[in-house]
Assembly symmetry: C2
Homo-oligomer: 344 residues x 2
């Protein structure tokens, strides 16, 4: 759903903005459309006290994936995980998937089988049913477009626009891993620069991300979260989405960002700032959410019981505060508008 | 939804068959899935006495459309019409559309605007809301993937598999026009070979097809039709789908096929058999349906009142009959398995 910086190539940036404008213009709402364009998934009424969630993603060879660094199975898995993550960010339960696939002349049966295998490996644990699709020849590489349908009790979906001043800002899991994994895949081979265990972890986080469905549903069921989004553009960009949609600002504590040992080791070995990886690296598919401070103790206690990993990384402030980053020395400065361009 | 012969290039034929096999394998059904892969749209329960219809189509530049013969607006219109037609064939009401778009480097803002304009021109008369999408760069031309969501009262959808021996076979509108229009677009310019009026009609039928939504809903509301499909592969192929799914045969009266004056004139001017155009030409997006002979008089009377154009073109026979074509001389012979390959 989210048109990510990840998916943009510089030359078409203005077309992406145009598409957003066109979609806003053409996307007029009827009463059955609870949310159209602009959240992680579209939300429509579906009778019997339920809402339906719909999200679509298009992945293009050479833009979103590279067959030199990912297997077709990885690509299928990641495509499904990205869509599942959109449903997770709404607190929903995924149900059905439709797969549109354009196959280049060089595509083999084995590749197609692998793609479906990866796709279903991501979907099966969540009981997502493959119900439809379309197949085409392609004169320009592989294109995979997934549409995922989910459900959520009416009036219970998590949106981007519910953050309130004073709310605490949380993120699940660790961030920056996927970007580190992508960088590793694209680096020329180096020897002994990173332990095989860390390398495997980071590449796994990039190629086989986990959609935080259980966490999203838990946050929704207990009405803990006031807003949520999945981290597809990068923490910096996605926090900005929450702030813009909720008309608030935020203080982000850079010292609190949950960084994995592998991400720290990778950054150290390449003399990179791990915080920069975490802020600008996309496709972690962790959940960024806000909750009232009065739920803090209860949320953290039950999260521990359920083995959910989540970290408080900041506070929602009035809009006039803007988005401030609290650095190691405790000083605040405006969070730079950063994201990263894709590798092509 | 339907993977049409239209969309295949010879080299990937076996991958298409493989995808179908994989989808069948992975597409296991839960009780909420009324129809998965294999009809015009997927059908799932949606509460409150309704079923949801979901269909997706992927159109690739150079496979499904050619920018030398169609404007971006035509392409958007036709993409929407093809999906609307899948909903029409189920007797449903279309509601929502999601648009995934891959834009080549050469793509301009004007082209994107035109695409959306055409798409919404097809959707707006049916009150279809644009609720989501995704946008990507493309290194291989334009790719457009639409997902359309519709609704139908529970247990009222029209399927391919309900035809019964003795039922009459009907088709809406005229057939073969779209294929004639495509051929015209691809021909080198000829002078005075066809009247401008006929030329305009046929090209219009190809580039701006009409999804027969009102007809499909009428057939469903009155429970007239025992089965229905939209003509995307060509009459010959789509009749075969109905017969296979319903485990029946058919007699198809070639003398009764509804051919437009323009299609006849085109065929005459190119010394082609107009019946062959009608049998093998795809993308007419007319409805092919069956009904009990006891409804014949009522259906034909109310169709006239509603200005629905429909023609009886055959009879459903036992499976052992196979699919027989009744020729001009009244003799029966097996309908050849014909379809046409796309232009690339």
């Amino acid at each position: 759903m989210a048109a990510t910086a990840w998916s943009k190539s510089r030359s078409t940036i203005h077309e992406f903005d145009l598409v957003r404008a066109l979609q806003q213009r053409h996307g007029r709402k009827s009463p059955s459309v609870i949310r159209g364009i602009g959240d992680d998934a579209a939300v429509v009424t579906s009778g019997a006290g339920r809402w339906s969630l719909l999200t679509t993603d298009l992945l293009a060879e050479g833009v979103h994936f590279d067959l030199r660094t990912a297997t077709m199975s990885d690509i299928g898995f990641r495509a499904a995980a990205a869509n599942l993550s959109d449903i997770a960010a709404m607190g929903g339960t995924p149900q059905y998937v439709l797969v549109a696939l354009a196959i280049p002349r060089t595509g083999t049966s084995g590749q197609v089988q692998q793609l479906y295998r990866g796709l279903m490996a991501a979907c099966r644990p969540h009981h997502v049913q493959l119900i439809g699709g379309d197949t085409s020849a392609s004169h320009g590489g592989w294109f995979i477009s997934l549409t995922l349908v989910g459900t959520v009790p009416a009036r219970k979906a998590l949106f981007r626009n519910g953050a309130r001043v004073g709310d605490l800002l949380y993120v699940t899991g660790t961030i920056g891993d996927s970007f580190a994994g992508l960088r590793l895949l694209r680096e020329p081979p180096r020897r002994a620069a990173l332990s095989p265990r860390h390398r495997k972890f980071l590449i796994g986080r990039h190629l086989r991300p986990t959609a935080r469905l259980a966490e999203g549903q838990w946050l929704r069921t207990h009405r803990f979260a006031t807003s949520a989004i999945d981290i597809s553009d990068g923490l910096s960009g996605d926090l900005r989405h929450i702030c813009e949609e909720s008309h608030v600002g935020a203080d982000l504590d850079l010292n609190a960002l949950p960084l994995s040992p592998a991400c720290r080791a990778y950054a150290a070995s390449r003399t990179l700032d791990p915080v920069a990886l975490a802020l600008t690296g996309g496709e972690d598919y962790e959940l960024l959410f806000t909750l009232s401070p009065r739920h803090k103790a209860q949320v953290e206690r039950t999260a521990t019981l359920r083995r959910f990993s989540m970290t408080c990384i900041g506070t929602i402030r009035p809009a006039r505060n803007g988005i401030q980053a609290i650095g190691q020395d405790g000083t605040k400065r405006p969070l730079p508008i950063t994201s990263y361009e894709h590798f092509r």
